[in-house]
Amino acid sequence: MTDTAVSYRPDTASDPVRRKTSLLEVDALTRKRNAAETRFKIYGIVAILIGLFFLAALLYAILSNGLTAFNQTFVSVPVTLDRAAVEDAEASLVKTSKYNAMIDKALAARLAEAGIATQMKPTDLRKMLSSGAASQVREFVLENPGRVGETVTFDLLASSRVDGYLKGRVTRAALVNDKNLDAGHLDLIDAMGDAGIAVKRFNLAFITGADASDSRPEQAGIGVSMIGSFYMMLVVLLLSLPIGVAASIYLEEFAPQNRFTDMIEVNISNLAAVPSIVFGILGLAAFIQFAHLPQSAPIVGGLVLTLMTLPTIIISTRASLKAVPPSIRDAALGVGASKMQSVFHHVLPLAMPGILTGTIIGLAQALGETAPLLLIGMVGFIASNYPGGLASGFLDPNSAMPAQIYEWAKRADPAFYERAWGGIIVLLLFLMTMNIVAIILRRRFERRW
């Protein structure tokens, strides 16, 4: 403690005239003690304020950096899908380069139409667009072969640098050494923004889309990894809820007091505190090395997270089973139910709200967990495909939301940082929803006996 202890010793021997003290008169010692009291209280308040300040700083960092990820700059260009050009492109070996030529022409035409004069070559103009623009046009053509020959207005993604410039992330000074973009582009972008060709608007593809390669941060989305997380949570829920409830029922209602029971209990409380990375090692050694389950698959991630959440679920389930008063059990036994019937027909339903609350909180923990997923290989690749079906959802390599965020944080291009923060907002929204559901469940259904 920071304050030295104050002790009151009336020193009568050295003080010949005994001082009169009064409760109404505050003497030096009392003043000192009161000051110490106030100081101590202030320390407490400061500590809480520090904690709240950190929370606020964290949330501010997340929101200020991440909200921009939901907006993206689009350049709307009317591209003439000339039949001959399309057929020529589809026949050639590098199909996108021909589509690029079409986009170049369309972009130059659009600029001329808007009265924006530029000396730039069309191939340089294209640097303002995402390198995925050509495949966007091509996909449209493949999906709608009937519209070849028409002029279709495409909302093409601007390149991440252009987008960063409009969001204030990329400055002109930073572009000096950039070989892709120069100040001329930026002047052009400003003009295009004024003319309404380049607009910043909500980008749904960030939430629903797939991850993209290093060179196309503007196309990266968190959708596929969300699906991966969903399948993992499905595994966790389907395994950890029944197993956790069964284990808790045994330990709380049936287990005799013996060494085996003790061992299980000690094990559970220790497992709850084992670092999550150790569960990752277990998953790697047991599920991938030994059982040869596919690497990076949501099912393996789900299994590892199940083992990790089990202790949480068991501890909360036992608490809610314990909260059901013994009179309920006695009444059931009294009318002829077996012990098993009294538990499954009476105690368990009454404990259910508490169990579900604990399960949701356990799931929320599992959803945000990253470290074990790194070890079983859910990072280091581009999760670009939606799973085809149920089996593929469980077994095909996929990422998970926190792993995807980690992946983005590791990439070199700062444009991915914005994605990572945005991903965190999505992740936190899920966690918040789950926790709110848990709180409502508890408020609504919890019974006090």
């Binding site: 202890a5 500590a47 809480i48 964290l58 950096n65 670092p275 090692i281 047991a286 090395q289 945000g368």
Partner: protein, 489 residues
Amino acid sequence: MSLPMIVLVVLALAAVGFLLGRSKALASANGDPRLLHSLPGYYGWNVALAVMLPAFFLLLAWLAVQPFVIHGQVSSMISQASVDESSLDLVMSDVRRVADGLDAAVAAGGLTAEQAGSIRTEFTDVRDRLGEVGVALGSDVTSETLRAAQRYRELSWTGSLMRAAAVIGLALVGLVFAWRRSGKDFRARNAVEAVVRWILITAASIAVLTTLGIVLSLIFNTVEFFRLYPAADFYFGLTWSPSFGGGSELGILPLIWATLYISLIALAVAVPVGLFAAIYLSEYATPTVRAVAKPMLEVLAGIPTIVYGLFALLTVGPMLVDVFGNDGLLGVNWMSGGTAVMTAGLVMGIMLIPFVSSLSDDIINAVPQAMRDGSLGLGATHSETVKQVIMPAALPGIVGAILLAASRAIGETMIVVLGAGAAAKLSLNPFEAMTTVTAKIVSQLTGDADFASPEALVAFSLGMTLFVVTLALNIFALYIVRKYREQYE
């Protein structure tokens, strides 16, 4: 017969068994359920369980054993020459790939089932043939591999046939056996409840199995590592410089040093803030303040560690560089990059605040009110009561809480992976990048390293060290906390 098919058949048999068992029991009581020993449903469940449990158990066992048997049979076909050339594992994975390729080819219609069993490398270019149906093989298929692959397919085919026959047969046996026992005098409820009890016990044992799994997977690989790399060099080595080319030095001491250093900084942040917050919340705060501030602080505990990692990497790190770095506010050049011991420690401290505060809060609340009243009644001020009565009484519990927080700090991964840096160093400067045990576990095990090299295996012995240290801390802390709780109960 495919796996889902077998499961479906067994489930269907169980449903049939349920109905048969129930109706037989009712029939034996002339349709009057009052004459039965148990409720009618129990007779049904008894039969259904007798169908499902042995059948599924056999299925699981079969799934576990069959690969080994086939592996043994097929690997005896591989000549010593090709084993010497690469390794048995590699050859066998080739064989499996070719066998899968043949399966895919048959499924795609590129080969008939008969052709797949009879083609020979001498007459067909198998690689081309499989390439046509979209199965890419890395190298040319030798005739030995092809024959082994064909044998592999044959064996798996027979195996799965036998599996289906055995599992369904066992299910039928269970059905008939349990159905015959079904009758009004049979104590179905007791039988079913005994089975349910065993299911509950199995579920409870999973915790033990998990621990066992952790320990075994760590021990086996650690032993393997120490066979390749001397244990003394690992535990007492001062340099950490793995290189996958060989000749790496894998000394754990720099990692341990950084781990402890970061944990120390984290605790230096979390313990004072958490402890004072807990004291204020439990001793001074009005119920309203408590109801608002406590959940707010606990939000910090619910935020995933990846968020803290990103916060360290992208916000706190650059901020610290602005203060302590070159051309910084202080004009000192202590920090060269955003990732540093200080960055990770500070952020980890923030993460641990609610951990320390809520544990200490519980412990302070557990101190009996009589002790407070006694102290206040003697004229002590509130803060004197806290310092001289409550703290000494709660001290063991708080030490336990701090130890738990320390074990969390030591085992924390994402914050140090993102915030602490990647270079292992033995240095006193907290503004330098260092790397920890957990961060190195991640970096040694991600990527395509093969598990046989010491550079990958070292992660397991790092994990072993981490596991032992955190386990010891936890057990000790829980012991203290429990001991303390008993004192006042």
